[in-house]
């Protein structure tokens, strides 16, 4: 697991061409490994139920992509569109608020001195490793105690909490906001908070986007918490909805095409987000990794 340091006598005179082809072959096979299942999802989403089970996935004879799409949104009274909207709301709004909260806190950890700072930061880091399953039951009991169980808030509030975002925020603040800038803003007579919102936050922009993207992924993936909190199908996110449809599919196979098409559509927002915001998350990964 640690650095493999077994000395291996690699002759520099070894034919370069062979090495090159082996390297490209290994990378190529890995790319096929990651791409083919997604490609299968795309192909399968254009098959009707019979073609799906008839196992010639590559034949384009029975192309029913549009029909599957219509069926998906008609299934169970248009429930899927509802789930999709819920997921977008949980994820986009939650990630936006969560990223702002985490970055502000990370910035304060970087720029201000106060008692027990490192102990508090240690607590934040410790929160990263506590399993979701440990928190699920107490959160459920708290939510049912306050009457919030089976509401939007029961899922929305816990996902705002992102301790790793605070860790990243502190690193970004060190890297992007020089202390001199803050001093200059103070010299100009700006209050502390005004300096943060007008000057520092703007410099933290790339970091903010990175934390947003990480949290967007986490919330979009969220499965356990909605399953614990929600019984009303109208509040489900896509992940939980597809899970219930998949369990229904073993009894009524007409759900299979809907699950496959629904899965394909559920992948789209994150792929788009990662493609559009590429340069941000790459810098974010570096910050998290090099420290």
């Amino acid at each position: 697991m640690s650095a493999p340091t077994t000395p291996r006598s690699a002759s520099p005179l070894r034919p370069r061409l062979l090495g090159r082809s082996v390297v490209n072959l290994v990378v190529g096979v890995s790319v096929l490994y990651t791409l083919l299942p997604v490609l299968w999802l795309v192909l399968a989403s254009s098959k009707d139920r019979d073609a799906l089970f008839s196992s010639d996935i590559l034949s384009l004879g029975d192309f029913s992509f549009v029909q599957n799409l219509k069926d998906l949104f008609a299934m169970d009274g248009g429930l899927y569109a509802r789930w999709y909207g819920n997921s977008l709301l949980y994820a986009v709004l939650g990630a936006a608020i969560g990223a702002l909260v985490s970055i502000a806190c990370g910035y304060a950890f970087d720029k201000y001195r106060f008692a027990h700072k490192e102990k508090l930061f240690g607590l934040v880091l410790a929160a990263v490793m506590v399993p979701q399953t440990v928190l699920a039951l107490p959160l459920y009991l708290m939510a049912s105690g306050t009457g919030l169980v089976n509401t939007f808030w029961a899922v929305f509030v816990p996902v705002l909490f992102n301790p790793f975002g605070v860790y990243l925020g502190r690193i970004f603040s060190q890297g992007y906001v020089p202390d001199e800038v803050l001093e200059a803003a103070r010299m100009d007579g700006a209050g502390e908070l005004a300096a943060y919102f007008r000057v520092s936050l703007r410099m933290l922009g790339p970091g903010l986007v990175t934390v947003f993207l990480f949290q967007l992924t986490t919330i979009w993936n969220n499965f356990l918490l909605p399953m614990v909190m929600l019984s009303d199908q109208d509040l489900y996110p896509v992940s939980l909805g597809l899970y219930t449809w998949n369990s229904a599919a073993s009894v009524s196979p007409e759900y299979y095409p809907a699950v496959i098409m629904g899965s394909l559509l559920a992948v789209v927002p994150l792929v788009l987000a990662f493609a559009l915001l590429q340069r941000f998350w790459r810098s974010g990964l570096t910050a998290g990794a090099v420290k």
Partner: protein
């Protein structure tokens, strides 16, 4: 951003905030009041996060610990009102002597032993290959490898479940043509099948983490190694790899922490496989105890045991890698 260009300030002035107006009050008062203002701003910036930390983290963890010492008693053959009574360590004894819980721990231990080395070595190897400079279409390859990270865990599990299902799966058909029959959800194959889902989902992500760290290795170091006659393989293993040790530690830690929480994939596969019971992993055991059996005390005790395992193992990994790097330094 241009508005924030730092003006050149003499060093002795930057040491403390300057007074606002020319007619300055005594320096000590200014310092005290600016310190107060700083702390006030610090409080405003930190309060939202710490409010969340308390409500959705500290109180729940405290509640879990508290609940683990209590259990519900139903006097009078279950007809009387439920009473919550102090149970001492009874829940803990029940958990650690429950063969299904211990079985779940065993499953996760085996899962970690297969998954973590494969993941770390695989991602590092791919990153080193991509960093070697001989890969064609490097950017495209990276994006393709990263793509599964954008696929939600439950959907990754769904895709692979279908690829494991006879009748739907093209993989099984291809293997069948070569006269190979594999039951991907059989008693010995179900765990490797889950490892495969996790590996597929996270390999590219961790590869990008390693790749980013490798990019930060100073070029002079590598050039020096090449001048000293080290071939590409040796440069990768003996020069680059030790230099990205912090990333290796971080990836190992996160992989371990998430591996211990194993829940989503087996939960989904359990819909189609008899080999996955409802208490397959500790997380599934906790879920089953809390929400199927409604035994909150037992679920809480199992949660605390899982939490302790996580803490001990993470601490162990940190200590172990620190000692390894200390030995490296003294060599």
């Amino acid at each position: 951003m241009t508005s924030a260009t730092p003006v050149s300030v003499p060093a002795d002035v930057t040491a403390r905030p300057a007074p606002k107006r020319p007619a300055a009050p005594p320096a000590r008062a200014t310092r005290a009041s600016s310190r107060r203002r700083e702390l006030g701003a610090c409080g405003v910036l930190m309060t939202p996060f710490f409010a969340l930390l308390v409500t959705v983290f500290l109180i729940p963890v405290g509640t879990a610990v508290y609940l683990s010492f209590f259990s519900d008693d139903q006097p009078g053959l279950g007809f009387g009102p439920e009473r919550t009574v102090f149970a001492g360590l009874r829940n803990y004894t029940a958990v650690v002597t429950d063969p299904t819980f211990l079985g779940g721990l065993g499953v996760v231990a085996l899962y970690c032993l297969i998954y973590i080395p494969l993941m770390v070595v695989g991602a590092l190897a791919l990153a080193l290959l991509l960093d070697s400079g001989v890969v064609r279409l490097r950017g495209t390859a990276q994006l393709a490898l990263f793509l599964p990270h954008a696929v939600p865990g439950i959907i990754a599990a769904l895709i692979w479940l279908y690829l494991y299902t006879p009748g739907i799966s093209p993989v099984i058909d291809v293997l069948a043509k070569a006269d190979i029959t594999v039951d991907f959800l059989g008693v010995h194959t179900v765990l490797p099948s889950i490892v495969n889902i996790a590996l597929w989902s996270n390999l590219g992500y961790n590869m990008v983490v390693f790749y980013a760290a490798l990019q930060a290795v100073p070029r002079e170091v590598i050039e020096a190694a090449v001048v000293d006659g080290a071939g590409p393989v040796r440069t990768a293993l003996q020069v680059k790899t030790p230099l990205v040790r912090p990333s290796i530690l971080m990836v190992s830690m996160f992989t371990l922490i998430f591996a211990l929480q194993l829940f989503t994939e087996p939960m989904l596969l359990s819909q189609s496989s008899q080999m996955i019971s409802s208490r397959f992993s500790p997380s599934m055991y906790i879920y089953d105890a809390a929400f199927t059996r409604n035994n909150y005390g037992l679920a809480a005790a199992a949660s605390v045991v899982l939490l302790l395992c996580t803490i001990v193992l993470s601490y162990g990994v940190t200590r172990w890698t620190n000692r390894a790097s200390a030995e490296e330094a003294t060599r």
